[in-house]
Symmetry: C2
DNA sequence: ATCTGTGATGTTATATTATAACGTAACATA
DNA sequence: TATGTTACGTTATAATATAACATCACAGAT
């Protein structure tokens, strides 16, 4: 059962879905001011919720956010991205064996794996 | 040949080496004000250089910095960490096959791998 | 039909993280 | 000594994120 989104959450999500690149919170705010969103709080609150339900992911190294293209995204916590340094596009990676790989890697250090964030930088197929 | 550090760079590096956990830039600043460092700029400039030579790494998801314990760290760009959610300690991972793994993973998406940032969250051996 | 808890909203203010911009000093070397 | 380069000091400001408070909407219990 899909959690139904509030108006503000829909507005923020649509802004992200309409963008080719990840957007910062204030960039989102700028884009949707015409829709009545007036403060950073409103954006951040919507983002919090959208991230919680897996509809949006944060790119930590860019302080930016992207809409998740996958229905019922499992990546509520763990995320893996390919980030093009040329066109700034971000491609989400869904490799099931990544978590497994990182679990094993963690075990070697007697570390109990919970979640991960992977950001791979390079040049995408469209740019080279 | 080791690049010789300036006074400010040494002060910042020592502050990070003395810390069990990663430190934010303003936290560093607070710690070293008694040594005559007065502005964020001085900290950030030192950090920039230290990161450039591989003596310090940034933990993106924490907006924090750690001293690298490895001599001649290759991780000028690619970094991999285990981050304990209990004690906040960060352990740097040096697995040579990680870059290779990510290179192959990238190729599947016709993406030219350059560098990566991997942050694994969980509980460290001391905490569980 | 009220009361009450919960979650969303709107708004102002502020905290936190990071960089711009400007002038000066130190130092190597041509 | 002129010159380029790099670091430094300082003030100001940009960019990112959260705190705090009052209000509203609505579901469910009494």
């Amino acid at each position: 059962m899909e959690p139904s989104l509030t108006t503000n959450q829909k507005i923020v999500l649509q802004a992200l879905e309409a963008s080719e690149q990840p957007l910062g919170a204030y960039n989102i705010l700028f884009n949707i001011e015409k829709k009545g969103i007036k403060s950073p709080q409103q954006v951040y609150r919507a983002l919090d919720k959208l991230i919680e339900i897996g509809a949006v992911h944060k790119i930590e190294s860019l302080n930016s956010y992207i809409a998740c293209k996958h229905k019922d995204c499992k990546a509520r916590e763990s995320t893996s991205f390919l980030i093009c340094q040329e066109c700034q596009k971000v491609y989400e990676v869904h490799e099931n064996d990544l978590s497994d790989k990182f679990l094993k890697l963690s075990q070697k250090s007697n570390f109990k794996y919970s979640t991960h964030n992977l950001e791979i930088f390079g040049i995408c197929g469209l740019c080279n």
